[in-house]
């Protein structure tokens, strides 16, 4: 989720930031927890599936959702408010969680404070980040089923000759950084050694690309029939597909995909640390995780969650997807993030 957002949603996020202090003032009489997370469909699902039940369980508490446009903005806010944090709980891409932990912006969480921590697998409670994995998503092919009736199966479909000027590859952000290791492996390489094979494959798709941009986003271009196929996120693609039946679909290609992990974190120095930990525990409970998965098509992180087959099939953690899972060393990738994006700009887009 570390990427660009459309101008429209950015404006929404700014409006949300502006409104936050007023909401805070109104609720000043009771303990108020400020949760910072992504704007848009994520926010909608999070409020319905996580915050609303929490408020029913804790009637004396208020929760304010402060929407941000991406994880990078969250990092900026945490840094700015280091002395007096106004954020208590923060949702962030795992790479940002690693960075923020290194900068001592996030508080560690123990099993005592967050009992559901025990149900999170090892990859979701790493040594180098203080937060806990909250949801997972996959890089996917998102396509317009009106133009491409048969579901694409391979990343190589991005280079299909029939799709000249109809592909959207927003690779100037996390999507590109996540796609490079997949393509590199497809070409028989290892991303830790060199991403050259991945860049070469990306270049092969270039003639098909209508837009390399995250703005207007892939989903908009698909709905406007400017693009027919693109690289997107599985959860978001499925959600938008559900909202616009018969248009957009997301599929995980057979060569495998990369997981993108969102973590839930307690801000260091939060005035409501205990309440924040309680909230995080609630967010990681079996019921909440299942509800959020149903609503937003994000894969749960609590290992005890069992989803109906119809749902689990298409999302992270389900057997079909798990078989194609490719585990990435996000610490390594974070370190090369900027460099990879610069190489994509120069060696693929400008080539």
């Amino acid at each position: 989720m570390r990427g660009r957002a459309s101008a429209l949603s950015r404006r929404g996020a700014l409006a949300g930031l502006g409104a936050a202090p007023f909401v805070r003032a109104r609720a000043a009489t009771m303990p108020t927890l400020t949760v910072c997370g992504f704007h848009g469909p994520f926010q909608k699902a999070f409020q319905a599936a996580v915050i609303a039940p929490f408020l029913r369980l804790h009637p004396g508490v208020a929760v304010v959702y402060r929407p941000i446009m991406n994880s990078a903005q969250l990092l900026a806010l945490l840094r700015l408010e280091r002395a007096a944090p106004r954020i208590d709980v923060a949702i962030a891409d795992i790479s940002i969680s690693i960075l923020a932990t290194a900068e001592q912006l996030l508080a560690p969480l123990s099993d005592g404070e967050v009992p559901n921590r025990a149900a999170i697998p090892d990859w979701g409670r790493g040594r180098n980040f203080n937060g806990l994995a909250f949801s997972r998503d996959n890089l996917a092919l998102v396509y317009d089923s009106r133009v491409i009736p048969a579901a694409p199966e391979s990343w190589m479909d991005l280079g299909r000759p029939a799709l000249v000027d109809q592909v959207c590859m927003p690779v100037e952000d996390t999507r590109g950084v996540a796609l490079l290791p997949v393509l590199t492996r497809m070409a028989g390489g290892d991303y830790r050694a060199s991403i050259d094979p991945g860049l070469a494959l990306m270049r092969r798709f270039a003639p098909n690309v209508a837009s390399w941009n995250a703005q207007p986003d892939l989903y908009t271009l698909l709905l406007a029939q400017t693009a027919a196929l693109g690289v997107g996120w599985n959860g978001r693609g499925q959600m938008i597909g559900r909202a616009n039946p018969g248009t957009i679909r997301a599929v995980i290609p057979r060569e495998g995909s990369v997981a993108q992990i969102n973590t839930i974190n307690l801000a260091a120095g939060s005035a409501h640390a205990a309440l924040g930990a309680t909230f995080i525990d609630h967010a990681l409970s079996v019921e909440t995780q299942a509800a959020f998965a149903r609503m937003a098509f994000y894969g749960p992180t609590n290992a005890q969650v069992v989803l109906p087959e119809s749902l689990s099939d298409g999302i992270f953690g389900g057997p079909a997807v798990a078989a194609r899972e490719m585990h990435l060393d996000w610490t390594f990738i974070s370190a090369h993030y900027g460099n990879w994006i610069r190489r994509i700009q120069r060696e693929v887009i400008s080539a």
Partner: protein, 295 residues
């Protein structure tokens, strides 16, 4: 020396200037100073996790500038940014001039409506405008459909998502600024000069070329400068219309700030952009001074 009666006392002058200066200090000087400071931070702050627990580093480093100026890619981006600014100004000002002339000299009852229409692009949101251009320039857009139907094209060509679309959209969005700027200049050109020229036997093109253009030239220059500056600093239009292909200083600043989180680098790019502004504005003032000296 000023006439004593017309010069307000010093304290009043200071008091009148204070709010403006304060606003300028808060909204311009401080951010620029902060930007310059950030641009001089060592790159290490840019958040490499292996560095372990780190606090924002202090100390100065010209590393970010070295990375900008030592990289031909960024020279290419600077050149392209300037090129887009020049082309946009060269298209927008000549296109705005006849519109402004018509509006300035119209006596129609609809003049007010027409002025509003001329600046209407300013009143629509960028997103709506972008969709408008998709409809016109897109693969299934009006232009492609027309060219395909008339048989001039066998395959649709890409007009959207690129440099062409970016310049087209920049011209559209910046033309109203040029129209307003030229309109105010033409308002200061005495209509009687045009009437005198006509009675002396000049036709409209001769009046425009021999009277209006020379007199409006400083205003046209100002309009061109305005369009140029707005074009080279615009972010959203290259982002939305460029299809991710149009790298300009503004998009790279945005990227470094929000995607790669390389703030010193973003700061250095911003300072480069500021320096470009300064150079262009001083060039403009020199040209204007020369024109005034000749007149």
């Amino acid at each position: 020396m000023n006439d004593h009666a017309t010069t307000p006392p010093r304290w009043l002058q200071a008091a009148l200037l204070a709010p403006g200066l304060a606003a300028l200090l808060i909204t311009f000087v401080l951010p620029v100073a902060w930007l310059a400071r950030v641009s001089l931070l060592p790159q290490a702050v840019s958040l490499l996790p292996q560095a372990g627990p780190s606090v924002p580093a202090t100390g100065l480093s010209a590393g970010a500038y070295a990375r900008v100026l030592g990289d031909p890619f960024y020279w290419w981006i600077i050149g392209r940014t300037l090129g887009i600014g020049v082309v946009t100004a060269c298209l927008a000002v000549p296109m705005a001039f006849p519109i402004a002339l018509f509006l300035a000299r119209s006596t129609s009852a609809w003049r007010g409506v027409l002025v509003v229409l001329a600046i209407a692009p300013l009143m629509t949101s960028t997103v709506i405008r972008t969709y408008g251009w998709m409809v016109i320039l897109g693969r299934h857009g009006i232009i492609n459909s027309l060219l395909l139907q008339t048989g001039l094209l066998a395959m649709p060509i890409r007009l959207d998502n690129g440099l062409f679309a970016t310049v087209v959209a920049l011209v559209e969005i910046l033309m109203p600024y040029a129209v307003i700027s030229i309109l105010s200049t033409l308002g200061r050109v005495n209509v009687e000069l045009e009437q005198a020229a006509a009675l002396l036997g000049a036709r409209l093109p001769q009046i425009v070329l021999r009277i209006i253009l020379p007199l409006a030239l400083p205003g046209l220059l100002t309009a061109a400068l305005l369009v140029f500056v707005l074009a080279i600093s615009s972010l959203v239009t290259p982002q939305l219309m460029g299809g991710g292909r149009v790298f300009v200083l503004a998009t790279e600043i945005f990227n470094a700030t929000t995607v790669t989180l390389d703030w010193p680098f973003a700061g250095a790019l911003s300072v480069v952009l500021l320096i470009l502004f300064g150079l262009v504005i001083s060039l403009y003032q020199r040209v204007l001074a020369r024109m005034e000296a000749q007149a």
